[in-house]
Structure formats: structure tokens, C-alpha cells
């Protein structure tokens, strides 16, 4: 029988941890709680969780500092950051510092469960998450995260800034159903209902530039009525 995945849930607000823990347990996860950064690092060392959920705004040591320390020590346990990470620049920085994903508060607890499952499925034990790789490759599509440039074969692709952010997110979350709302939040920091059209426009732009057929996609797949999925297999490459 498979062991239950171990989750370390870190948030200074006890009302949140007290209410979230039972939900996660019911979803088949084994939950340990920590109320602040130092405690989180200690517990991470002793129980060796499969995934950490870190609130960012905590007294003394905040979630990002915990994340930095873990990564600095070569600990690549998947991390989901919980909070409003401010604007898109902060979000991008958080991901670059080694978080696998983030979820804005206030969130639907079931959404958290879905993200945890997706991250665990994507996890590559002992290796840095896709989110931290310098270069992502899928077939002849290559994305350089430092310079934010993409190539199809030898040809560099011309894409609008938002389309690039979208492509980056798609490639760092392969084989995962991404709703339009979530993509909107990632690219613009919104979840306005009308805005979801904006996502469709950007996806159309990506498909055009990647020469990807929406009916028989190699890269971006439409999940009818729900969102999109990056169907290509993604590998990492260290920057040359």
C-alpha cells in the first residue's frame, strides 16, 4: 500500500491551519503543522515531508526566507507558497527562488488540494523543480528563463511579453489542467470573468507562432469548457 504523502503546513494563523488540516487529511494526506519559519525548518528536517505549504507573511522568518534556506541547503522538496504575492514581479521572483507554485489567499480549500496533487505528480525527487530550471525544452521548442526568450528549432520566436509569461507557465506546469482563471491570475494578476477571453487570445497567439494545430496539438491542448494543458513533455537544460 502506498504511503500517505506527508505535508508540512506552515502558517502563523492558527484558525487557518486548524481548519485546513482536517480537509487535507480527508484528502488522503498526512499533515504536520508549524506556526513560523524556524519551527518549519526544524520540522522539515525531522519529518522529511513530501511537500511544504508555506505562508509568506509570518513574523520573525517569512515563507520566502524559509524557501531560500531550504534551497540553499540543496533541499528541493516541492513548495507551494500561500498568500497574495503582490504584483507579477514578486510572483515571478518567488517562482525563481525555487517555489513550485503559489496560491493566493483567500482560496478555495479544494483548490489547494488540487494543486498539492498536481505538484506531487510533477515532483522529481531530489531534483530542482521545473520552476527553477534555467532552460526548458519540449521537442524543438526551447525556452530560456533568464533572458525570457523562446526558440522553435533554430528560429527565435517573436511573442508579446504576456504571451511569453503564459508560455513559461505552461511549460513549467506540463500535463496539468490549468483553468483560464488561474492563467489569468498568473499572467495579469486578475481573475475577472471577462478577462478569460484575453487568455484565449494569447493562447491563439502562441498556437500561431508555435504552428500548433488546436485540433491535433503537440504543445497546447484545449480542455473543453475548463482550460488548457501543456501536452508536450518538458525537460530541463542547464544554461549553456
Amino acid at each position: 500500500m502506498e504511503k500517505k504523502p506527508k505535508i508540512l503546513l506552515v502558517d502563523d494563523e492558527s484558525a487557518i491551519t486548524a481548519n485546513l488540516a482536517p480537509i487535507l487529511e480527508r484528502a488522503g494526506l498526512s499533515v504536520t503543522v508549524a506556526a513560523e519559519g524556524e519551527e518549519a525548518l526544524q520540522k522539515a528536517a525531522t519529518i522529511q515531508p513530501d511537500l511544504l505549504i508555506l505562508d509568506i507573511l509570518m513574523p520573525k522568518m517569512d515563507g520566502r526566507e524559509v524557501l531560500r534556506r531550504l534551497r540553499h541547503d540543496g533541499n528541493w522538496t516541492p513548495v507551494i507558497l500561500l498568500t497574495q504575492v503582490g504584483d507579477s514581479v514578486e510572483r515571478a521572483m518567488a517562482l525563481e527562488e525555487g517555489a513550485d507554485d503559489y496560491l493566493n489567499k483567500p482560496f478555495d480549500p479544494h483548490e489547494l488540494v488540487a494543486r498539492i496533487r498536481a505538484v506531487l505528480r510533477r515532483a522529481r525527487p531530489g531534483q530542482p523543480p521545473l520552476a527553477t530550471a534555467a532552460r526548458l525544452v519540449s521537442r524543438d521548442l526551447a525556452f530560456d528563463r533568464r533572458s525570457k526568450r523562446a526558440w522553435l528549432g533554430q528560429e527565435e520566436l517573436t511573442l508579446t511579453p504576456k504571451a511569453l509569461v503564459l508560455l513559461e507557465y505552461l511549460m513549467t506546469h506540463p500535463d496539468e489542467l490549468l483553468t483560464r482563471e488561474r492563467l489569468l491570475d498568473v499572467v495579469w494578476g486578475w481573475d475577472y470573468p471577462v478577462g478569460t477571453r484575453a487568455i484565449d487570445t494569447r493562447v491563439a497567439e502562441l498556437r500561431r507562432v508555435l504552428k500548433d494545430d488546436p485540433i491535433n496539438p503537440v504543445f497546447i491542448e484545449t480542455v473543453s469548457g475548463q482550460g488548457y494543458r501543456f501536452a508536450g513533455e518538458v525537460h530541463t537544460q542547464e544554461a549553456s
Binding site: I23, P106, P109, V194, R197
Partner: protein, 301 residues
């Protein structure tokens, strides 16, 4: 030429001094003493130059200090508002997260019909608060994020927002009309953030639909006016009472007549923010019981 206007008098003084000096030099004026004439001319010339320069300098620095203080007032007020909205949003997030999790736990227990209904209503209201929190964040964030500048096809944008508005269920009971110029040429493109502009126009149409009744008319028009591109959304709806007009663009402000209609009072504030970011202006005219027209004026560049 506009820029030179404050320097009019200094320049005039300088020119006058120059003319007078030349006149003295070439002897147009009575020749009292030869040397005195030349010296006087030189003195007057230099004096005129100095006074003119001093005057110009004073006017220049005075104007600059005026401009800067206006700028700092608006950014300071804006910063304070943003900080407040951020703080408010921050304080709402944690309790809302805890409540939603608590409700999810409650939903798993055995509840009777009445309890289920109560739970459902609590979930709906929490969702509403969550949306408010998220809207506040957007508003605060809007002013600090970099604006994407591309050529926006306004004609296409207005057609798209109009089509979206027509799709709304309530729109079926209103008369919607879109008027865009074809001659002598269609609306020009402008530099801006297409998604934000889309959102702003959509909000106006959404409001027009929300605050009108069956049978009302809603008209959207776009046209060029001098160096501006104007987009107007007008409706024959509730209108806004005169005493409330000044406040209508404020965050979270809802007019008396808006009670009972869903919304959180951030729609217009968002429109203001977006249009201001584009260097444009938003004006609103309304008559209670008659209708409202919101005018967006965007610079063409």
C-alpha cells in the same frame, strides 16, 4: 510657442534694451557727450540683459516648483490610498481563508435541510467577500504594474466589448446600439494596454446594463475629437442624483439607487485608474431618472 509665454516680458525688456543701446551707439538720440553716449548705451544694454535674465530665471524656477508640488500632492494622495487598500486587503485575506476552510469542514458533516441552506448562504457571502478582496488588490496593484504599450485597434476593441455585452442575459431586454465612424476613416489605433482598455470599456457597458431596466436604451460610440480619441457609453437608466455625482468614481462608493443591484463599487474606480494610466480623462454626466453618459478621452499618440 506656449512654453515661451512666461518669458514674454523678460524677452521684451531685453529687446528694448538692445534697441536703446543700438540707438545710442549710432547716435539717433541727442549727442550730449560722445563718451557718455557710448557708455550709457553699454550700461543700458548690460543692465537690460541682466534684468531680463534674472526675471526669466525667477519665472522659470517659480513655475517648476509649482509643477513639482502638484505632482507630489497627487502621487502622495495616490500612495496613501494604495497603502490603505493594500492594508485592508491584507487584513481580510486571513479571516476569509480560515472561514472558507471552516465552511468546507462543516459541509462534510451531517446537516439537515435548514443547516444546509444556512451553510450555502454563508459560502455565497464568503465568496462575495473574497471577490471584493481580490478587486481591492487589483485596484491597488493596477497603479504599480508596468503598462503594456502596443498599438490597440480601438475599432476592433469596441466591437468585441459590444459583442460580449450583447451576450449578457439582461442585455436582451435593453436596446443596444454601437456607432463607430466609417468615413472619412475609421477610428485610429492608439498606444496602450489592450487588456486594461478592454476591461475599462467592459465595466462601463456592464454598469449600463446593470443600472437600467427592461426597455432602456444603451448607446456606445467612438469618435475622434481633435487630438483625442473619445469613447462614450450612454444609457437611459436610473441616473445618479446630483449630490452623489462627485463621489461616484470613488472606491467602494455606491449611489443610493444602486442598493439591491450586485456590485461592490469598484467598477468605476477601476475605469478611472486604467484611463488615468493611459494619460486620459474620464467624465460623467447624469440626470436622476433620465440617464447617464460616461466619456473616456484618450490621447492619440
Amino acid at each position: 510657442m506656449q512654453k515661451l509665454r512666461p518669458f514674454f516680458y523678460p524677452i521684451l525688456l531685453f529687446v528694448f534694451a538692445l534697441i536703446l543701446s543700438i540707438a545710442l551707439w549710432i547716435g539717433l538720440l541727442p549727442d550730449v557727450i560722445f563718451r557718455l553716449r557710448i557708455d550709457l548705451g553699454n550700461i543700458l544694454f548690460v543692465l537690460g540683459l541682466l534684468v531680463g535674465a534674472a526675471w526669466a530665471g525667477l519665472i522659470f524656477t517659480w513655475r517648476r516648483s509649482q509643477e513639482i508640488s502638484i505632482e507630489s500632492v497627487t502621487t502622495e494622495a495616490g500612495d496613501e490610498k494604495r497603502r490603505f487598500l493594500r492594508r485592508l486587503d491584507h487584513e481580510l485575506k486571513n479571516p476569509l481563508t480560515a472561514i472558507r476552510a471552516g465552511l468546507a469542514n462543516l459541509a462534510e458533516t451531517h446537516l439537515d435541510e435548514m443547516q444546509r441552506q444556512a451553510l450555502s448562504s454563508m459560502e455565497a457571502q464568503t465568496l462575495r467577500l473574497s471577490r471584493l478582496s481580490s478587486d481591492l488588490r487589483k485596484l491597488a496593484e493596477l497603479e504599480s504594474r508596468p503598462l503594456e504599450r502596443t498599438a490597440v485597434n480601438v475599432d476592433e476593441l469596441l466591437h468585441e466589448t459590444f459583442a460580449l455585452a450583447q451576450d449578457q442575459p439582461n442585455a436582451a431586454y435593453r436596446e443596444l446600439k454601437l456607432t463607430l465612424p466609417q468615413a472619412p476613416w475609421p477610428l485610429p489605433s492608439i498606444q496602450g494596454d489592450r487588456d486594461l482598455l478592454f476591461l475599462a470599456v467592459h465595466n462601463l457597458l456592464d454598469n449600463a446594463i446593470k443600472f437600467t431596466q427592461a426597455g432602456s436604451k444603451i448607446e456606445m460610440r467612438g469618435f475622434e475629437d481633435g487630438s483625442s480619441l473619445v469613447i462614450e457609453v450612454a444609457d437611459t437608466g436610473l441616473g445618479i442624483p446630483e449630490d452623489e455625482l462627485a463621489h461616484i468614481g470613488e472606491e467602494l462608493y455606491r449611489a443610493r439607487g444602486a442598493r439591491g443591484i450586485p456590485g461592490n463599487g469598484l467598477g468605476l474606480a477601476l475605469v478611472h485608474s486604467i484611463i488615468n494610466l493611459h494619460g486620459g480623462k474620464v467624465t460623467l454626466r447624469s440626470r436622476e431618472g433620465k440617464g447617464t453618459v460616461v466619456t473616456l478621452r484618450l490621447p492619440q499618440n
